[in-house]
Point group: C3
Chain length 425, copies 3
């Protein structure tokens, strides 16, 4: 009842469309690349993250069904939560871009699920999804609209947020509870599915990172992600195949996942001018850190906090997301108009000159239709990027704590069906 179509979805711009002189249909279809990106993000999030990467590895048919239910609820709920912050005249105006944003919100849910899946009932998953979307949408609004930061690959807003939210909930749920038998059914084909899932995400990651970029920034997002992923893959798989780890074969599958760390780590800076050279360095570093995480950090963290991060959420999303936030802040602090030309003001709208200053008139003269900004400096943009990381971590951890305690209420914590997620039942 709160939702309406946007201007592109109703016939207002139709006058242009009847121009048949050139015999083309280009102007009739205003959003081919947007639509394409939407369809691929939709596919990658649900098939890639939801099923191949997380669930099929370890669970079967009924888990998939209950997850599909959560996805269907989340897509609608995220439209509302994200939309309330953008309401105009009492209506949320929905375009295909909103569907992409709702898909990214679902991505956050699916990443967090990886950390808690062996602890929760389907009802708890639904409650957790509803709470997490609320925190997610608020944090997204604060970071993008108030702090005006740039995070094209959503490494901070989705990956960091979802990893620490999920781990906090997991920590709360596990505390003071007898270690119950966890579900660990492995289907006969599931190892192969896991590898195909990793491949699938590997191939679509350039689209994930580029889907919210525009124009020349979109080209850079694709190219940087492509090389960063290739670099992190070479590093992690070389380690995985080398004899260095001959006595740690049990980590092989998780190290394979680290091949994707390059995609997360380049996220925030994907559309900035870091060149293939920089992208490859970021990818190599992320691959190394992620492998170190699997072999060194995770066992330590698990011992200290009593978490058991079986799906490697921290190593694939948490750590590379933190790298991405810092890389993005550094790249933003060195961004100049000389390098970016006028694209600078589309990437960092807060850096646009304030209205009616000489700088503003100069830009207006050269570009036209400038939306006035805050005349923020490069360095302070970098500082704001770091501030957004702090905000994101705060929302993730406090939100996760509250959600964890809500889930522990006896109302949602009934054990009657606690093995539902087990296919055999």
């Amino acid at each position: 009842m709160f939702v309406d179509y946007t201007r592109e979805s109703i016939g207002i711009v139709v006058e242009n469309d009847f121009d048949r002189v050139r015999g083309t249909h280009v102007r009739k279809h205003l959003s081919s690349i947007y639509y394409y990106m939407f369809q691929d993000v939709h596919l990658t999030v649900v098939i890639g993250f939801g099923f191949l990467a997380t669930f099929l590895k370890r669970y079967g048919n009924s888990s998939v069904v209950s997850t599909l239910l959560v996805v269907a609820i989340t897509l609608q709920w995220a439209t509302l939560c994200q939309g309330f912050f953008q309401m105009q005249r009492g209506k949320i105006h929905v375009s295909i871009t909103n569907l992409v944003h709702a898909d990214f919100a679902t991505l956050a849910i699916l990443i967090s699920f990886g950390a808690v899946l062996d602890l929760t009932t389907p009802t708890q998953l639904i409650i957790m999804a509803i709470c997490e979307i609320l925190c997610f949408a608020t944090n997204e609004y604060i970071c993008l609209d108030i702090l005006q930061i740039s995070d094209v690959g959503v490494s901070m807003l989705v990956h960091v947020f979802a990893a620490y939210f999920g781990l906090t909930v997991s920590c709360v749920l596990r505390k003071n509870r007898p270690e119950r038998e966890t579900v660990s059914i492995t289907l006969p084909t599931s190892d192969l599915f896991a590898v195909i899932g990793t491949m699938f995400l590997w191939l679509f990651w350039p689209t994930l990172n580029a889907s919210l970029a525009q124009g020349d920034a979109q080209h850079r997002a694709v190219i940087n992600t492509y090389y960063s992923l290739a670099a992190s893959t070479v590093v992690t798989l070389a380690i995985s195949l080398s004899s260095l780890l001959d006595n740690k074969r049990s980590y092989t599958v998780q190290i394979q996942n680290s091949a994707l760390a390059g995609g997360v780590a380049i996220g925030t800076a994907a559309d900035m001018m870091i060149y293939p050279f920089g992208a490859i360095i970021v990818g190599c570093f992320a691959g190394l850190v992620s492998v170190l995480g699997v072999v060194v950090f995770t066992p330590g963290i698990n011992r200290i906090f009593g978490i058991r991060d079986t799906n490697g959420v921290h190593n694939l999303h948490g750590l590379p997301g933190l790298i991405s936030a810092f890389v993005g802040a550094i790249a933003a602090a060195f961004a100049t108009e000389k390098d970016y030309n006028y694209t600078l003001y589309r990437l960092f709208p807060a850096r646009t000159p304030m209205v009616k200053t000489p700088d503003y008139w100069n830009l207006e003269h050269h570009v036209g239709n400038v939306v006035p900004g805050l005349a923020r400096s490069a360095l302070s943009q970098g500082a704001y990027q770091i501030a957004a990381l702090g905000t994101t971590l705060a929302f993730a951890i406090f939100g996760g704590l509250i959600t964890g305690f809500v889930l522990r209420l006896s109302l949602f914590n009934q054990r009657r069906r606690n093995n539902f997620i087990n296919d055999e039942v």
Copy 2:
């Protein structure tokens, strides 16, 4: 020999392309969104419907091969059958849009196959495909070109037609015949494939429904389908997981398929102004009806007509298709220029004013290049939509009867290889 390229495929519009001033390639590639839609429809129809949703569930390798043979024949035969109605100067002019139409014809074949697969030999499948395409193309021509109705998601033209055609053929083939042992091999991985197949269709359905729409109507088709599917998924999976059906666990897989009912039910009206609110109501209603169909109607129908609709063709395509036809008729009967702006005349070309009336000159003045129509009223457009449903049902049932009797001719009914579709043989 009857086929030629269209104007876009030969160099006639090439003069525009040499404009390199802007350094762009946009105008060289006239049909990016069309092409994208084509590739996705192609993928979804063949992989999603053909293999994951219907065949892999129950059959193996050799069934897939014989189906691929039928698809390859159908794509060529549909080009001719659909093309004969659109011939210009003795030639069928083939563009990528024709390939999309041929894919939808193949979709009809694959849906019908779901109803007869346990009764037929590969030769019979080929004969049936050839007959069905003939009926399908004639009905399509009558509905779209003579009755001038709107059916963007082809819910009537494909889903209703194919469901009732297939069920009629199944009814004829099963009549007066001893119940023979039917094939029901289940592969070890096939349950998982079935769920992934459902997911795959769920994710691509917005593209299926939007692929024949244009401009702002395409946006609406995507958005409406997205929310309708989400709504029907929540309804059907909530029923499936709830304790209401604890004693009917045997229906679980078919109820999961009902999650897709929202996509079929929104089909005809997908590009109309029904708003997310309307789309969600349609999706919920379709989910409910489809689940009722699985639990109540199908057992009854099977008893009365002696059909055995093992793949649930009636509940996934038949019933939601009927809902779609009525929703489309109602939305068409209330469509006003105020809501749709000039898009109205692209959705319902018959409603365009007749040539040289004052209305026509007024529209020509505002829009330009208007193709004169029949000045049909909103209410009569709604009536024509219902008339098209009647025509479709008539073609499906009479065509199915004739095809069924052709297939019973001893010529095509040889049992020598009747277990061919069984992998073990």
Copy 3:
């Protein structure tokens, strides 16, 4: 360090983008169709060829991982090798088109791997990939930039090259070596994966062949490939299902692969004016030759050269690639400006008139911005196409010989881990 962005990826053309008068985003996203093609080629090459078609059939998890490592190395190495020939001011300028070219180089590697996979260690695969890319990039430069031939579907440059390169390496590696136990683990689900892999390639082949074409030629590439594939499928599957081969059931899977021969055979001529009629004839012929290859040629060749082409590389890529080269040469020798209009000069740039001739001024007047060519005649363009086939075969065979002997050096030929590719180890 050698790589920089192209003009589209930096803010130079951004002035146009701020035009918000029409409320559209079209001009902001300069390359929707290119990007779409890139993503699909990326997916098809790695998932379709790499995993489904070659590796999953016979090997498991660790083979996939070592292949992913080779792909990640190849993508980066191909960027450099192909880029060195196109350097400007000491920098390789990388756009999304370069990524597509790197993907095609990877395709060549994956095809060649099919011929040697049971003979090599992971280290040998990496060495072979590095050598092959060097030969591939040099041959590509000679054919496209010096001989100026047209090969839109890369049937010569990739399929013929990779097939004969791989077979030569296989021949050298097998010579004078005791027949060792080869790996032939078949996973339980792998037959089904093989069929789905074939389907996947079948569906995406129009995109593969059209991805390097432009404008109207892109339409033709899609349409011709679509019909050629349908024709070769009907021919090969009809043979496969017919009783002709009842006593040769062991060939069934390889004959199924021949359904794809139509896609390779139409490659070079895919964007030429051969009409659906011609495409269907080429497809039928390619299907027949490929099936004959499986049943007649391969057993003979294996006996004479001591090769064992277990993956059917010669029948799927070698023979249809040769057909494609001849079909392309014939079509090029008959190409006239009357049929192609000005597109002729985009397909065959060498046929553009030389600068400042009357023909040139005439074309300049009609089209504008003409890049002067060599005024080559249709017949001599056909001859150059054949010359390019000879060059390709020479590079493939000599390159393969040298690579084979390099791989036999004791340095790379250590047998310590020679069963690595075996999952059980």
